[in-house]
Symmetry: C2
Subunit: 249 residues, 2 copies
Amino acid sequence: MGNLAKCELHFLDAEHQGPQSACLQCAFGKLCFPPVLPAFYQMLLPMAGENRLRLKRGQCLFSVGELQTGIFAVKAGFLKTCITLADGQSKVIGFHTMGDAVGMGGLGHGVHTTNAIALNDCEVCVIPLEKFERLLEHNSESVYVRQLLAREVVRIEHHAAEVGALSAKQLVAKFLLEVSARWHDRGYSKNKFVLFMSRKEIGSYLGLTFETVGRTLSYFQTKDWIRIDAKNVLILDLPALRLQLTRPI
Amino acid sequence: MGNLAKCELHFLDAEHQGPQSACLQCAFGKLCFPPVLPAFYQMLLPMAGENRLRLKRGQCLFSVGELQTGIFAVKAGFLKTCITLADGQSKVIGFHTMGDAVGMGGLGHGVHTTNAIALNDCEVCVIPLEKFERLLEHNSESVYVRQLLAREVVRIEHHAAEVGALSAKQLVAKFLLEVSARWHDRGYSKNKFVLFMSRKEIGSYLGLTFETVGRTLSYFQTKDWIRIDAKNVLILDLPALRLQLTRPI
DNA sequence: CGGCCACTTGAGCGTACTCAAAACGCGTGG
DNA sequence: CCACGCGTTTTGAGTACGCTCAAGTGGCCG
């Protein structure tokens, strides 16, 4: 459990209810895993219910090179995953929120391949590796994990292509649409939301500097496509943002 | 090495011996799958031995949206996988050669998520989806597939980060080192090899224009780090290329 | 032979980066 | 309570890297 120790575990005292009911009664309910994976959700979450843990803003869930002890399901809050390049700079490669699985990349060599850091106070379900593998042995649920991984491959492939192909305006527009869609998927407004990451983190994710991200957001505001105040976003013209992606410059 | 460019396939006429022996006697032998996956290799390749497939240069192995009928193991030759972005441009996201598995991304929804196109005449082993899944049901080999997918996630994550972070010189240096390492892994020289992709395809992969790729290669040649003639590469100073990655500009 | 494509090289331009200054929010401690 | 320090954000001015456009070469094939 190595680094988990330094994470100051605060387990929820819902043990007496049994893990399953604890999860099913949870406020996040079926949001916890994407609707396309109902069976996987039903199998996995009850197992995780026993091991819940809380992270404070800035805390590290796991880091590169650590032995992987489990996979994680985000219950509440936001995390970023990042890697360090050969020249020392750190790059954000993904943002994760409730319902997302984190730490799947480590299944390759049994060692974590990214750093996962909490963007704010958050709650994470831990599925210990032994339980996870036992689950997959005895069930055909391994198909779901395969699907989850394959979809992650596709997601990152598109991200890599876009980072190398789109302009700053297109990238920032794409980012806003991505965040909007994720909120929408989870039953919230797609037009009004809060960004939990800094400009610097957005820039790192998109391959831009934080100044460029800020400038582009300001530009969108002058166009009356969005209204942005610090981290609060109000999308006024979603189609206009979408149009950015299909149109050059 | 030069005649590899022509890639005149010399097929083994070992069909009469049964698929398993055909594969084990194959000239590519255990190169066909990475050494870290011996069990998977032994399970998978004999199954594929029955279904071998030849592609001519430019032919499409599968394309986006097609129903996935199987996964593929490259036996000889080179393929690229690419996707089409919202604005219509096509981006290369990977190059594949002997020993690589292609088409795993489709495991997410059962539909191919990339276009796979032969860069030269090549030979591919087909593992029909039913056989593939039956194999995974009856064996613990599904672990290997999971590892394969997880490693693919990691590979693309790093690629995405680099495309968004590195300069043109760094990207091209990284690309040369990548290709060199892949040849080396397969038992060939790491200093002398042939590029099977055009400048345009390299540029698409790295998020650069083909002019910039060409210019950068020429620049490396003026520095006496490499010697390049058309697609023939001779690396003269590998450490210098490596240094590019750790040093800014 | 002509046509086509890949590649190289050059010149000029534009986007995004770099450097810089100032305002702002936020937590800490006097 | 305000002062202070720190990090984030915004905005500006200048720069540089890589893109765009263009011309010219060489290889391949009908």
